[in-house]
Structures are given as C-alpha cells and as structure tokens.
Amino acid sequence: MKNSLLALLLVLSGPTLPARADTPRTEALRVVTTLPDLADLVREIGGARVDVQSLYKGKENTHALTAKPSHLVAMSKADLFVQVGLSLEASFVPGLMESARNARIQPGAPGFVNVSEGWEALEVPESLSRKAGDVHPQGNPHMNLDPRGGAFMAERILAGLVRVDPAGKEEYERRHAELAKKLAEARARWDALGQAWKGKKVVVYHQEYDYLAAYHGLEILGKVEPKPGIPPTPNHVAELIAAMKSGHADAILSAPWSNNETVERIAEASGVKVAELPNMCGGIPGTDTWIAMMDLLHQRVGEVLGGAPAR
C-alpha cells in the first residue's frame, strides 16, 4: 500500500517536459497576461497561433489581485508570460512565479515579457520611503492608460512572440503592422479630442490617470488618496474639497473600483462631475479591446470636459 502511494505521488509529481524551441508547434502558444489589455494585444498580434488567458478580469484594483488555483496552473503551463511591470503586479506575480516553477517564463527567459521595459515612467521617486505611501520604485506603473501605451506594449509583445515561436514571425509581424495602423488612427482620434482639454483641472482617486493627464495637458489638482495606496482621511477630503472649489476643478476621474461613497461625497460637496473611466479592458461593457477601452475612456472624459465623443 505504501509503495503504491509513493508510486502514485511520483507519477503525479513528475516534471513536465518543455517543448523544444525548434519543434514546429502543433498547438496554440499558451500565453498568460496579467491585464486583459495585454491579452487583447497578444490576440491581435498572435491571432490563431495563441491561446491567451488574462489573470485580471477587468474591474479589479490593479494592485489587489487574489491569486487563484487556475492562475497557478496557467502560469505553470504557459509558453509566454506578459506583464506590465513597474511593480504594478508586485503583490502576486513574484509569488506565482516562484510557485509555478515554469522555467520558460521566468525573468530573463525567452517567454518573459515586461511591456514597460524602456518606458519613461512618470513619478519615479528620488528616494524610497513608505512615508510617500505605496510607492513604486520604478515610477508610476499605469502606463497601459497612456494613449501611446498600446503601440509601446505591442512592440514588446511582438518581440516576445517571435522569441518563443520564431516559425510564426512573418504572421506576427504582419498582424502587428495592421494593429499599429489601427493604433495610430485611434491615437489621432484621441489627440483631436484632447485638444479641448488642455489646462483643464481634474481630481483623480488614484494615480491611474496620470499618464492620460500628462499626455493631454490636464492639470491634476489633487488626489482622493492622500498618498498612493493610502485611504482618504476626513481631513484630507475636506482639504481636497476646499482646493477643488478654490481651484475650480473641472472633473473627478475615478475607476470602477474606486467610484465609491467618498468620491460621491466629494462630488456633491464640490459640485464637480465624476467620470467613471475604465482602468483596463473588460471592466466596463464595450471595452473588450484596448482601443475600445481607450475610446470609451476618452468619450467619458469628453462628456465631462467637453469635446466631441470619440465614437
């Protein structure tokens, strides 16, 4: 009985043999992404050659994902892992990586893609201290909400796909070129809309929309969080409301996860409209693709700041 049990355990625990890189693929490349934004871009570039799973579903606070068994299984079987980086996913990716034991997707391996590599991040702290809240050592990680972010992320995804599946290079490059064209057209739409927003004053809940604001020349008058990741205190809320009144704030930008009672109270007290914006794909209906998500984001900002709807 003991021997049978031991044999069963050994069979169950046997290491999975990785496929050789030069072997033609007979099945789709298994890709795991953190954000659904990345999953969309992988699908756009990979087409039928990829099978993509996103760990986030779309409505989450990007800093608070609860790792599930399916995440661990997906990571253990993935051929390619795509993350934003800049410590956005620091609360769960290192733990999953360690437990998944998949050598193909470890940092430095061909199957690891960090789409923020080379990105010039905003708000890089000069010194690291928790006094500044939940700071990210490499800077603001919400680069997926920069209108330039789609093209930047797509380039790194393309490179990753080619690395792990060189046989599909031609197809990946062709599909990437088509995507790049769509991204450029979309960016032109957003640029046109954003012309009317320059100098407008907004309040954000978290630092998610800082890239968007910087891109379109919006002034961030204040943040509902006194420091990143720190919940608002009554004093801070009172000061923020006073600053919004004296500074003539034009809008409050919140994400689905942060559009809460505090935001409602601030809006009521200050008389400023709230725009609930997507912070990643899938969180709001009609945002299944990155371009659609950014279109809706611009449309909703346009509704409170003025300008023509994006679509």
Partner: protein
Amino acid sequence: MRLSLSAAALCAAGAAPFAQGSPFQTPGMPSQAPPPQADAESGQSDRFSSSFNPAISFIADIVFDYLDPADSAADDGFDAELRGLELSANAWVDPKAWAYFVGAADEEELSIEEAAVHFTGLGGNHVVRAGRFFIDFGKQMQIHPHELRTLERPLVLRAYLGEEVKGDGAQWDCWTSVGEETVVRWSVGVFADLLPEEAAFPAVDQTGEEITPEVAERKDAGDLNYTARLTGFRDVGEHGVLQLGGSLRSIPDFTFVDDTNGLAADGLDSEVWGLDLTYGWTSDTGLERWTLGGELLAETGDSGVTVDDPDTTPGSGDETLSVLDDALFGWFAYGDYAWSRFDSAGLQLSMAELADGADTDASEVEAYYTHLFSEFHRLRLAVTSTDLDTGDEDLRVALQYTATVGAHGHGISF
C-alpha cells in the same frame, strides 16, 4: 601598543571623517576603524560589500489588553506588552536555493524562530526545505502570530499542537494540477522534535507544577517526528476558491516527566489529525472578500497524564502517573468579511476536549476587527472569551498594533 600606534598613525594621516562619525576625535573616546576600501578603487567586491545584502525586515507586535480572568486569584486589569519583535532576512544563496532567517525577541529571550533553506533544484514542482521552520499543518500553523487573522491561534490548535510548532528537520513538498482549475499539493516532513514549547493546557501534578513532555535527543529512525499534509484547492466560479486539506503530526515516542514526584512515563506516542475546509470569495474589484473556514482535529495516542497520590503528600513515594489515551476531538470555525482593502471583521469559534482526566471541554469565541493604515502597519481590536465547562471564563479585550519595517513579502500560501 601596536593598536595605539596604528590609531595615532591614522590621526596623523588625517583620515577622512566618517559619514555618521564625530567630526573630530576627543581623548578617551573610541576610535573608529577606517572605512572599507571602495569597490571602484580595489577593482574587487570585498566581503564588506553591501551589494548582496538580503531583504531584511523588522516586525513589531504590540498588544495592549484588559483581562478579566476566571481565576479570582489571578491578576486582572490592563497590560501593555511588546509581544514580539521579529527580524527576518531572505536571500538567494545559489540559482536553485534561497534561505531565510527569522529571529524573534520577546521581553525575556531572543530565539531563532526559523532558519531554513528552500531547495528547488529537483525540477518539476518539488521543494525540499531543511533547517528549522514551522510545521505544515492545516492553514494556521505555518505562519507567525503577527500574521494571523486573529490575536491568537484557535484554541484547539493551541491545545493539541501548541502555541506554535517549529521543528528542526526537513520537508519535501510538491504540487500538481488536475485540470485547469485545481491544484493538489502534498508535503512530508521529518523532524527531531515537534513537541510544543508552550502548551496551552499543560498537564499538571497535584501541586500545580507542569508535567512536561520530552523527546529523547537521539532516537531511532522510527522514532523521529513526522508531519504530512495533502490539500487540494480549486476555483469555484469566477469569484470563489475552495480548499480541502488533511494534516497529520506524529510523535512516535515521548516521555512525560514529573519532576515534583520524580516520576516518568515513557514509550508514549501522540498523533494529531486535522481536516480543514476553507472557502474564499472575492468581489469583482478584488476589494471585498468573504472567507469561511474551519478545521476538525483529533488527538490520538497518549494525550495527557495525571498524578495519583493516595496520601496527597507530594514526593512521598506513593504517587503514580496515569497516562490518558482517550481520543480527543475539537474544532474551530470562522467567518471573515473585508469590505475594503483596509477594513475587515470576523468571528471565530473554537472548542476542544482537554486531556485533564476530568473530561473538561474548553471553548473560545473571538470577535475581531482589523484596520490597515497601509500595507505595513495595522491595528486590531479583539474581544476573546475563553470558557471551560467547569464554569470558568476568561474575558480579554485587546488592541494589537503590528508594524513592518522593510521588506516582508510572502509567497503563495497553501
């Protein structure tokens, strides 16, 4: 003499002032060593290089409480205590192994809680851990007290296993997937000694002195102490995770030692079996969570001891030890609700049959509210009622403040 000359030579050479040092050296003050040569100058990284420092953290766990004990002779009232100060360091020691150290100081002593290496070089999902570490039993024994959802570990765990159980030994663990949404993991550990350092309900002699369980320092292979755990967890819909697990802690050979009467009962064994079930639900935003869980425990083997003393005179020579070998049962169950990243509350119930020879049952109810100021410090209010069916009841109201300084990352907890 040589040292004095060296110090004088350094002063004469006009050594550069140290960053945190005194701007000048006054007579009678200790002289400081010269700074290590910079890497850039030596062309080598020397043994004083800080480039490979481990991730270091300190954790302070402070409890301010009010106790109304059942025993009228016991002290009641308010107290404040630095319950623990933990220092931990983690670092990779080679491409396949990482090591960590956790030291803990309370008001009386400095102890090594854990010091172990995780070796991952066997391939697949195997891990071998060796050194001193907390046992893999259920879901609450692997973690340190400051990491608990509650102020203390559930009563039944304290009663059957101990406040905390760390062993010196080795453990092999592995996991595999079943389908796309289920993970099964198992572990087997072998240790020198898994007796608790502090028993919540220790056996006592007729004078109230503790009768201590002891394990021989050197033993046959068959008398080593063992743990085993098998657990499976899977996604339940979009929002839920369900986990079921079974655990065993086995001490095949130990001795009860009664110092007061000069008695010992040897050749004893103790096994604790656990069956745990946990369900977690997380909202779309990831900020609202429900967790419901519990564990059934059974202690078998020689669970307790009493002293028979016909003449009621300690040490008179007529005393004998009666070992209790009845199976004991207990359980705990809890429900937690977090309505934001920063606030959660819960209720935990626990019950255990005690090995005191009088068939006493103990139960405990703890209500708790936890507020995180940030990821790195939190405040908890806990109200605990511990009740023996003899009618004795302790009431404790506690404020617990826990702060982490430095890195304190955790892997995936099974």
